[in-house]
Symmetry: C2
């Protein structure tokens, strides 16, 4: 028997009231972001945990099936915001969340763009191409889809540039009070 297991049947990590509140809320906010409750709760737990946790501990703390934890951890690893760590002399996998919120934000943005924006751009291009040789009755649809495509392409390019900024620069820029005003003054009104 490993040193850590002792006689705990369900190895739950103790949580303060604040920690519980945060985990529950993060779980509820998951849906609009396209991740289910358990995945979001596990992420919340790992984010505030003072040390990496085993799947067993996560299951015990959140009261969900061990198998569910396994699947959810795989998804979080797929997003690239959770990774495996190991403890010397312990065969079990320990999991820890990325700490840097700015980096996490960037990764999630990138991933969502890949999954949602890129396929939509592809479809819009196809549709506009199809409508180029269409009847006059489809003129309105063509106009609308072209505008939508142009909008999304503008956003996409802006995002690509924004992505080239270092986290440090991005942070400094967003923290500037009156930053947007300055941008408007310096760059726009030429």
């Amino acid at each position: 028997m490993s040193l850590q297991t002792e006689l705990t049947a369900t190895a739950a990590v103790p949580l303060s009231a604040a920690a519980r509140k945060f985990i529950v809320h993060w779980g509820e906010m998951g849906s609009p972001w396209g991740v289910n409750r358990t995945v979001a709760q596990i992420h919340a737990l790992l984010y505030i945990a003072p040390r990496p946790l085993t799947a067993e501990e996560i299951a015990g703390t959140l009261s969900v099936a061990r198998s569910n934890v396994s699947t959810s951890l795989r998804e979080l690893q797929g997003w690239g915001i959770v990774r495996v760590a190991h403890v010397l002399g312990d065969r079990r996998d320990y999991f820890e969340s990325m700490r840097d919120v700015w980096e996490m934000f960037r990764i999630i943005l990138e991933e969502r763009k890949r999954r949602e924006v890129d396929p939509t751009l592809a479809v819009l291009r196809e549709c506009v191409a199809l409508l180029d040789r269409a009847r006059p009755a489809d003129a309105e649809a063509k106009q609308r889809l072209s505008e939508l495509l142009e909008f999304m392409e503008t956003m996409d390019s802006a995002y690509r540039e924004f992505r080239t900024l270092s986290i440090a620069d991005l942070r400094r820029f967003l923290k500037l009070r009156g930053g947007m005003r300055k941008v408007a003054g310096l760059i726009l009104s030429r």
Copy 2:
């Protein structure tokens, strides 16, 4: 019997292949954005339609129940991107989508901030306040939640400023090639 009704049992609007492709795709993209398929499809249909449509026509075109259309239209009106229009001498409600993609983008961003970001900020503030008088064991959680709160507050302020720009300025800014580089050069490296 009104002039428009004639003998059509299910009043469907004819759709080109491109239009169908767009509507189907937009419906699939709905989930990650927190709206269900029908709502997203109705929005897509109204967006490309050359004229306002009745609920009946929408139901016929998309093959969904009339009552479902009613509920979904209500939701779209709640988001503020669809509105009712009327035709002289016709009692029925006609529905049309907002046309300006930039304005639609702004409205959706605003609404999502209100529904997702604001409540999370409130919870994080509560949690950090609770952890201020907590045991040393919770030091890590406090640190993590403080950082997350600071990050979200920075984003929130940046968004508030960004919101003060006119659509025209915003558009010009995002369309600037090398815009981000210029911002970095002019504002950041002081």
